[in-house]
Symmetry: C2
Subunit: 336 residues, 2 copies
């Protein structure tokens, strides 16, 4: 490939597109299932397992940020949706919407990150498609990924299993991804060395599945921890109480939010897992989480209350209470 930037011809189904696929995509994503000459790829599933599927779009701006890029983010995001469903991720498909003029070197860095994240998670990309849109009709690169996973048929998880008194746990500080992307935009004249938390939560989810009393898991992405808590309220009809002093928030996240008027409880995380656990098993859940990579900073952050107040209440450090309402305005478009 001799070009340095993407042109419309890279999306036309002809020679340029074939070169882009063969010389860049296949180079980084090759695996036993990926065959770029077929319409549909054959995949294999195991008998005795339930099959799960999830799909996600990614539009993060900028495309590269401290701690990751849109490619690693897409792989982690899709793996995480399967992981919190209790499934073992098995296969990925990948769509690219490339804007004319994207630097091919940048595209290659992103595709390479997809390759690394997919190999790390042992989840091959088995099918893909590429479209190129004209300058001014895209955002550099948008991705859509679909993931398939298998779950042992006896696993039962869901918001409907949540009971009064259950505790909420999280595996680390919240809002790092949202804040890191915000800083990477450099539009506020702020800089910092905060990194996105973008990572797979698969190991943590698997550790939690070994614990009795696990009710439900979710990754707090768009809309952050407050939105996951509000979803629990909506689904169960019970209140959720979070303790401000227990919710880990890094200092740079806190100060950027203070300066710009954002609320860290609504900022996206991309490597966090919120678990809801029977209170009698909270201690063993916590130690299970802390034994795996990415889980050492796990902590209990709140609990599920009765149905008298169907709100998310944040108990502040000064002893007051603040309602974390369901999100209305978009605090940060193109954050993931």
């Amino acid at each position: 490939m001799q070009e340095t930037h993407i042109s419309l011809a890279h999306g036309n189904g002809g020679r340029f597109m074939r070169e882009l696929i063969d010389e860049l995509f296949v180079k980084h994503l090759a695996n036993e299932f990926l065959d770029t000459t077929v319409d549909a790829a054959r995949i294999e599933f195991e008998w005795g397992y339930d099959t799960f599927v999830t799909t996600d779009g990614f539009t993060v701006k900028p495309l590269e940020f401290p701690g990751g890029n849109i490619g690693s983010l897409a792989v982690h995001g899709t793996i995480n949706d399967l992981s919190v469903a209790g499934a073992v991720p098995k296969y990925l498909t990948l769509n690219m919407f490339i804007e004319e003029g994207l630097e091919i070197a940048q595209l290659e860095r992103i595709v390479a990150s997809i390759g690394v994240a997919a190999r790390d998670a042992e989840v091959p990309v088995v099918a893909g498609d590429t479209k190129v849109v004209a300058r001014g009709e895209g955002g550099g690169l948008y991705l859509a990924t679909t993931g398939f996973g298998l779950r042992n048929s006896r696993i039962d998880l869901g918001m409907c299993r949540i009971r009064e008194g259950d505790v909420l746990l999280v595996n680390g500080p919240i809002g790092d991804h949202g804040t890191a992307v915000l800083l990477a935009r450099e539009e506020f004249g702020l800089r910092g060395d905060l990194k996105s938390d973008s990572a797979s939560v698969f190991e943590i989810a698997q550790a939690l599945l070994m614990v009795d009393g696990l009710r439900f898991m979710r990754d707090p992405t768009r809309g952050g921890l407050a939105s996951v808590a509000n979803e629990i309220v909506a689904a169960t009809g019970r209140g959720v109480r979070l303790k401000e002093s227990s919710v880990p928030i890094q200092e740079p996240v806190r100060s950027v939010c203070d300066m710009l008027g954002y609320d860290p409880y609504y900022l996206a995380c991309e490597g966090r897992l919120v678990a809801v656990v029977d209170p009698h098993h909270a201690a063993s859940a916590l130690s299970a989480m802390r034994t795996v990579a990415g889980g050492t900073a796990s902590t209990i952050i709140g609990r599920v209350e009765d149905d008298s107040k169907q709100h998310v209440v944040l108990e502040t450090e000064l002893g007051g209470e603040r309602i974390l309402e369901e999100l209305e305005d978009d605090p940060l478009p193109r954050i993931c």
Copy 2:
């Protein structure tokens, strides 16, 4: 939902997004597998079948055109990729990249078309995701769909099975989709009542699978018939000869191409299937295709030659020959 146009808040994971999903998407796409409150949807596969997966992006402009819209196009396109692989489509996932300012009434027409096309094909949408990007960072609406299908384990199809002397068949006129979309853009001051051929080719593919001697099937989308023929040349090392007098092209397609300098052999079709068949079974393949809806205009269009000339040759009506080279420039961006 009281808004008339999409705003960034429709993509933020909060109330506006939930309303959009519940009141518009679920309304048209509801099925037993779709649960908008979970991270990953459980799907079921049958034992004794091979599982196939395909994924596609759609960026067509305009979003609505005679004969379809980006929604029906996405469903048909994905079903067709599975169909030509010999599989029975079973499930779809759907990603939407919506540009701020899209009229919600238009979005609803498109989602309704997705619902109709998916129900007609008995292929439920089991998972989805929505992202909203700012004005000027999208094209109104881009879609990405992933499809899963099952194929009887004893079916064997592929370009590697193609032999010298095999014949090529197509189920109807070529270039209708590309030309209809081109006319719908109205940028050339041309108008016409030509409709896109966007449709499922599943029934035709199934009819062909009943015939002995079927080697390979493909749907000629981006890059058109000429690109499928060039792929066969590249994969087999043999020439392909098409007979101009046998390739059906509608008069409006021919005249628009003449006027604007396009070549109908490279224009996208979205409801056409090219089959390669053992010459001894060509007649029965042709009658099988002609018995099903969408296949009555099926015809033999060419044959596979020896390996002396690795080209696609078009035998013109005047007895000359024209080489249909692999596509380089993009004749029509955002055609599908």
